[in-house]
Symmetry: C2
Subunit: 127 residues, 2 copies
């Protein structure tokens, strides 16, 4: 299966928070690292962390970089159904065949620039 | 010049916040996007945003992925001199030759997992 398509579908399932479907993407002994909170999860633990995460979510892959046959990097834009919060996640996928064996993930909240920077009058909106 | 070495040195200069040295890495019309705060900077604007950022900082590149001759992805760990705050930045570099023409950057603060997840008793420390 095309890996780009695979990670797009994976992110769709992450946002849906359906544990049984999401499990099928992973090797049984896969590791998922959330570096900002210093958490390393097994697949079972990750399914709890992702699928019991409070709220109802949407997700869209904004960028995919293919490093090699087995390494892909995605940028995902994730937002609440109420559209009152959003964030970006950058994920480094390690595959064996069509199965994920490791994800290193970096999450950052979206928000306004801090006041000191707004006062500089620099920059313009990207989107 | 080896691009991996170049982005390592670039991040060293980002942490030092020395505008005149940092400028030499960029094409004059380069664009720097900070997606979490929806800010697009010219080189001049980026030098203000980076080098007038309050505080004294350290930075270390934790990961480099080479997508092609002209595209690299870095993960940088950035922390204050007082060691009371840290964050991770993921940067997608676009080069022309040895010069940066575009950076798409995603910043996320570090911190503890939220209470609901700590109460689940899942995960272990990465570092």
């Amino acid at each position: 299966m095309d890996k780009k398509q695979l990670v797009i579908e994976y992110w769709h399932q992450v946002a849906r928070q359906d544990a049984s479907t999401l499990r099928t993407y992973f090797a049984p002994d896969a590791i998922i690292n959330w570096h900002n909170t210093n958490e390393q999860f097994s697949v079972d633990e990750f399914l709890v962390a992702n699928c019991e995460y409070p709220g109802s979510w949407h997700g869209r892959v904004e960028r995919i970089e293919v490093v090699s046959d087995d390494v892909l990097v995605t940028v995902a834009f994730v937002w609440t159904a109420e559209e009152n919060f959003s964030c970006h996640a950058v994920s480094f996928f390690q595959f064996e065949g069509d199965t994920i064996v490791k994800i290193d993930e970096y999450w950052g909240d979206d928000g306004k620039p801090p006041e000191w920077r707004r006062n500089k009058g620099i920059g313009k909106a990207i989107r």
